[in-house]
Assembly symmetry: C2
Homo-oligomer: 102 residues x 2
DNA sequence: TGCATATATTAGCATATATAAATATTCTAA
DNA sequence: TTAGAATATTTATATATGCTAATATATGCA
């Protein structure tokens, strides 16, 4: 039996890649990330615009921040979020573009 | 309050895109898809090479087949699987490449 | 200090899903 | 038609996760 010559994935690669895809595998997180495509927004702005509970947005932002998909910036009591991984944004927009003409 | 001018994602786009990312968000499925990069393999070959239970491989292949990530071909009692969405393969390899130098 | 606003965290619930063992199905060959 | 091989399905279990309400924390201001 002959097998592929592709190099095996390392444990780290597997973990990292699946973590990112897992984060993108939820409609709510996709909506949030997509909303942050070109501009930063506060938690409340995101919640209002996307019609989500404040705690839901905060929670999902925190999960995305843990794996460096978004970053935050404080201004008084307000915290602005923006995306923090251009490559992930590229993956997302490519997937969306592909979903369009399909 | 001013909001982004990006077009809102449609329900269909959201569902489709999150479905694909969700499928890629599991290490076992990534290993299987990656193993199928350049060549088709039978269920047993995949199970042996990746050291997974036969039922696990069969189950994961069936979930990926449902959403057209893989396709199958029968030859006697053996069923060969291969990937069926070049674009998803591209997303995967891009993510892996990025994970390498990171 | 005390109050209001914005955000974060906690806890509970419901749902989803990954794995594995056991069983069933499908096909080939004798 | 019957046995064996390959794959699929069923069932059970454990784990993860998304959402919500409630509460906590942090900041700015009177």
């Amino acid at each position: 039996m002959k097998y592929d010559t592709e190099p095996e994935l390392t444990e780290e690669q597997l973990t990292h890649v699946s973590q990112i895809f897992k984060a993108l595998g939820d409609p709510t997180r996709i909506r949030i990330l997509h909303f942050l495509l070109d501009q930063e927004y506060s938690v409340n702005e995101i919640a209002e615009k996307l019609e989500l509970h404040q705690s839901t947005v905060s929670h999902q932002l925190s999960t995305m921040k843990k794996i460096r998909l978004v970053k935050s910036r404080r201004e008084g009591t307000t915290i602005y979020y923006s995306h923090d991984d251009k490559h992930v944004i590229d993956l997302l927009t490519e997937a969306i573009n592909h979903a369009c003409h399909n």
